[in-house]
């Protein structure tokens, strides 16, 4: 094998590709050629690195120097400085916002420092399109051990002892699931992988499938051996073309290498794997619905029992595991259950991957030990709120989850603690919201989603979510009535009680948690006709506080409806009749002189403070 002085691991995940990886790669290769370094430097395209916000990113090995926001223009300079003169190029390094010092090493950057990589162990280190690179990182060792030295019971015992719980959302113990299926006697069983990641705001599974497809395949072979299945499917969203491509490539390579297919590793064990592309239905993330969809039908859930472990796909015993769960299997087999339990808490062991997004500085994919406080994830890894903003809460678990307010951020992230707040860990979507987000609007957003995605089988879910949504729309348009909040809560509880599957049983969660923690926002929408975040247009007026306005004209220039008047250096004024309430002045003002007031507010700008009370009295 050829040896290189340095490996340039360029991220080719969906995020970085959209930020321009391809052009950067061409420029890099051209520059390396121009400098005659092609025998010393190797450019490798890797899967998602996780730090999507700063893409395209690249890490240089063996020195572990991390570069971000690469541009074609900077490439010649980078190659010259780092690889000819031996001085890592500071301009493209991560710079600490406050101290302004560059941090060259990836492991010292705050975003990476708190992470522990188990699922994402190979991220950014291997070329996902080459099986050799996966094998060189101990890949397929666990499979070999499971197939040659372990019985089905041995495998199940290790997985059970590890305490691994399904990472798809519900957190059901994986070992237990396997045990149920293994005990059922049947000629035909199925091992299935759920890659139908439909949660808006979550992209963990996509990244794993793109960055380390073999780890999923290996986990499936081990699972197949444990339950005695010889056929498997990976159900992937059609919206993830890159994941589909890389998985297919990985399946072909593994089959070629004798690690998949007939008579694996000469042990006589057969396991054939196929990819099945979903067609876009959120409810297909539910296990019985996914199996219906695999059968080529409408993906509607059915009552359990019988559980899929007894009667699943085509009525045969089947096990469905999430992508992230499967990617954890091979390290557990190699290192044992005690190693796995060494992180996390008693009931929530190991690590969990979160897709951290929203109103924070560092967005991307993070893997942390379970039991870590929310605060650490959001402030230390996520870098806290954007300048001048304040974090209000975090939405966990997407449309099935709930909103956790800032004051509860000391909470450890475990299945039990999160459920106690009314949210769920879910598949790992973590969307941070700041004071620019209207919580009623947020609840409305999720209800729009679930009302749309309800499969229609159970009336409480089909009709109930629609009614909830209509009520929320009314509230955001100023047509809310006294008692609406209570009705929302009652109806929400009824839907939870009367729905068949996870979608209906969790759909009201976003409303119930926002009411629980942000009740005053609902009240101010209904009673005062005031959306304090300034998002609901019907419930907002914008006013300029003359005392604070410096007359810089920033708001005036940005106003699309030319509703702002005023001379330079003198306080400006918003003509309410012309204002379309687009918020652009609010965002543009550097002096915080724009105030968000209720819809019916008529007062003088100088009286803005405490005006809410006045309006309340009028009403």
């Amino acid at each position: 094998m050829e040896k290189f002085r340095a490996n340039l691991m360029l991220c080719a995940g969906t995020g970085c590709v959209a930020s321009g990886t391809k052009k950067v790669k061409d420029a890099l290769i051209e520059e390396i050629k121009k400098r005659g370094l092609e025998e010393e430097l190797k450019v490798v395209l890797t899967g998602c690195n996780g730090y999507c916000a700063e893409g395209p990113v690249m890490s240089v090995y063996p020195d572990e120097i991390f570069y971000q926001r690469l541009t074609v223009e900077e490439i010649p300079k980078l190659v010259e400085e780092h690889f000819l003169k031996g001085r890592p190029y500071q301009k493209l390094m991560f710079t600490e916002p406050e101290k302004k010092t560059a941090i060259p090493l990836m492991k010292e950057i705050p975003f990476f420092k708190h992470q522990v990589l188990r699922v994402l162990r190979n991220k950014g280190l291997i070329d996902p399109e080459k099986i050799e690179e996966y094998i060189s990182r101990d890949g397929y060792q666990a499979e070999a051990r499971a197939l040659t030295q372990m019985t089905s019971e041995d495998i199940i015992k290790v997985v059970k002892d590890s305490g691994l719980r399904g990472r798809g959302g519900a957190g059901f113990p994986t070992g237990l699931k396997w045990e149920f299926a293994s005990k059922v006697k049947s000629e035909v069983k199925f091992m299935l992988c759920n890659g139908d990641e439909g949660d808006p705001g979550a992209f963990m599974d996509r990244s794993v499938m793109e960055a380390d497809p073999h780890s999923v395949i290996e986990g499936m072979v081990i699972g197949a051996k444990a339950i005695g299945a010889h056929k498997g499917y990976i159900y992937v969203r059609a919206e993830y073309p890159l994941a589909v491509k890389r998985l297919q490539l990985a399946i072909d390579q593994a089959t070629e290498a004798g690690l998949l297919g007939k008579n694996i590793l000469d042990t006589g064990f057969d396991f054939e794997l196929e990819i099945y592309q979903g067609a876009g239905a959120f409810v297909c993330g539910e296990e019985t619905a996914l199996m219906r969809s695999l059968e080529g039908k409408r993906g509607m859930p059915r009552p359990r029992p019988p559980f899929p472990a007894h009667k699943g796909l085509w009525d045969k015993p089947s096990v469905l595991n999430n992508v992230e769960t499967l990617a954890q299997i091979s390290p557990i087999i190699i290192n044992g259950s005690d190693w796995y339990r060494s992180l996390g808490t008693e009931k929530s062991t190991g690590t969990k991957v979160f897709a951290l997004t929203g109103a924070i500085n560092n967005v991307g994919l993070v893997e942390v030990p379970m039991g870590i406080p929310l605060k650490t994830i959001i402030y230390d890894i996520g870098g806290g709120p954007k300048k001048g903003k304040k974090i209000k809460g975090v939405q966990l678990g997407g449309p099935s989850g709930g909103c956790i307010p800032e004051r509860l951020f000391d909470l450890p992230v475990t299945y039990e603690d999160i459920v106690a707040t009314g949210a769920i860990v879910g598949s790992g979507g973590m969307v941070v919201m700041d004071d620019n987000t209207c919580m009623v609007g947020m609840a409305k957003f999720f209800l729009e989603f679930t009302a749309d995605e309800s499969c229609g089988k159970c009336t409480p879910c089909r009709v109930g979510t629609k009614i909830l949504l209509d009520m929320l729309i009314d509230i955001t348009e100023g047509k809310g009535k006294e008692g609406d909040i209570e009705t929302l809560e009652d109806l929400g509880r009824d839907i939870i009680a009367a729905s068949l599957c996870g979608l209906g049983q969790t759909a009201p969660n976003p409303i119930l948690t926002t009411i629980r923690y942000f009740r005053e926002e609902f009240e101010s929408h209904i009673r005062d006709h005031w959306c304090k975040a300034g998002v609901c247009r019907a419930l907002t007026t914008f006013w300029i506080d003359e005392k604070m306005c410096k007359g810089c004209g920033a708001c005036l220039r940005g106003c699309p409806s030319k509703a702002i008047v005023g001379e330079k250096k003198k306080p400006h004024k918003i003509i309410q009749e012309l204002c379309v309430r687009c918020r652009s002045c609010y965002e543009a003002c550097k002096f915080k002189s724009i105030k968000i007031m209720p819809a019916k507010y008529e007062g003088e700008p100088s009286e803005l403070v405490g005006a809410a009370e006045a309006v309340k009295e009028e009403a």
């Binding site: 916000a53 959120f282 969307v431």
Partner: protein, 310 residues
């Protein structure tokens, strides 16, 4: 037929042209031959033809290049390909370019006559205006569809993959396509329709040349995709799920594209664009359509004037 259809047969093997001429002339068609793409282009420049039969693998100017040229300069000419290598990729490419049918090589006279008859009817029916797919679709598409159906037929649970392929071939799933699939797979039409209507990936409306997909995920919502979407709606004058009148753009709202790190996100065809603002989004869309570029430019000029005044 009032007038004999005029056919040009293009192949680098003279024997193919000779045999085609013999068979088709006997049927009363007006047939000429060209020994390659270059000669064919010159002939089409000088004469008018109703149909062109072309080989794909030819030295110099190959079949695909010829088809592209015809589609651009003389779109009313119907095209049938003759090929000894009906590989899926080349046929798919040709189908996308809008051929009517294909004849595998070697062919029997009966097959050639049959294909010619259908192709002539198809072109005659299509002129002067293109006939809509809802009523009938090119035999080659039908053949490709049937091939897909046959390939998948034996597999359990094949309806969804077949529908996905069908949508790739035809572009969308009108009733006529669903009917064919229903027959081919022996599944009731109602069931096929129930699956089509259930999954958001399937569409029964034709799509435009470029498909704009706007992400409606949570991260994009928090970061303000609404304003981007409004701007696109206003500019293209279409709502989610619609196609512009000139069939250039379709607009779709999708549930999370999984690129939340770049929110708000928009995808056009296969390319992902991150960190969108209304202005940036329009700038990107205008790359696909000069008319929109002009409108955007006009707006920017106006804004600049305002800015200068301010």
């Amino acid at each position: 037929m009032a007038e004999a259809a005029k056919i040009l047969v293009v192949d680098d093997e003279p024997v193919v042209i000779k045999s085609a001429e013999r068979v088709l002339r006997a049927e009363g068609y007006d047939v000429e031959g060209a020994l390659g793409g270059r000669e064919a282009i010159l002939k089409i420049e000088q004469n008018s033809y109703d149909l062109v039969f072309t080989d794909l693998k030819m030295p110099e100017v190959d079949g695909i290049t010829l088809i592209r040229w015809i589609k651009k300069s003389n779109p009313s000419i119907g095209i049938v390909i003759i090929t000894g290598y009906p590989s899926q990729d080349t046929i798919k490419e040709a189908l996308e370019l809008g051929i009517i049918d294909y004849v595998p090589k070697p062919f029997t006279p009966a097959v050639l006559v049959d294909v010619t008859k259908r192709a002539v009817e198809w072109t005659a029916g299509r002129k002067p205006e293109e006939k809509k797919i809802t009523e009938e679709f090119p035999p080659a598409m039908a053949a490709e569809l049937d091939r897909v159906i046959n390939d998948y037929k034996i597999k359990p649970g094949c309806l969804i993959p077949v529908l996905q392929r069908a949508q790739e071939i035809v572009g969308y799933l009108p009733p006529i396509v669903q009917k064919r699939i229903s027959k081919g797979l022996n599944i009731p039409q109602a069931e096929v329709h129930s699956v089509v209507s259930f999954y958001s990936f399937f569409t029964m409306k034709p799509r435009g040349d470029h498909n704009i997909r706007v992400c409606l995920g949570t991260a994009c919502y928090v970061k303000g995709i609404e304003t981007v979407l409004c701007k696109i709606r206003d500019t293209l004058k279409i709502d989610i799920g619609d196609t512009t009148e000139n069939r250039r753009f379709s607009l779709e709202g999708v549930r999370c594209l999984g690129a939340c790190g770049l929110a708000p996100v928009m995808v056009i065809d296969q390319d992902t664009y991150g960190a969108m603002t209304p202005k940036k989004a329009l700038g990107i869309i205008s790359r696909y359509d000069p008319a929109i570029a002009e409108a955007v430019l006009q707006e920017t000029v106006e804004e600049e004037i305002v800015e200068k005044e301010g």
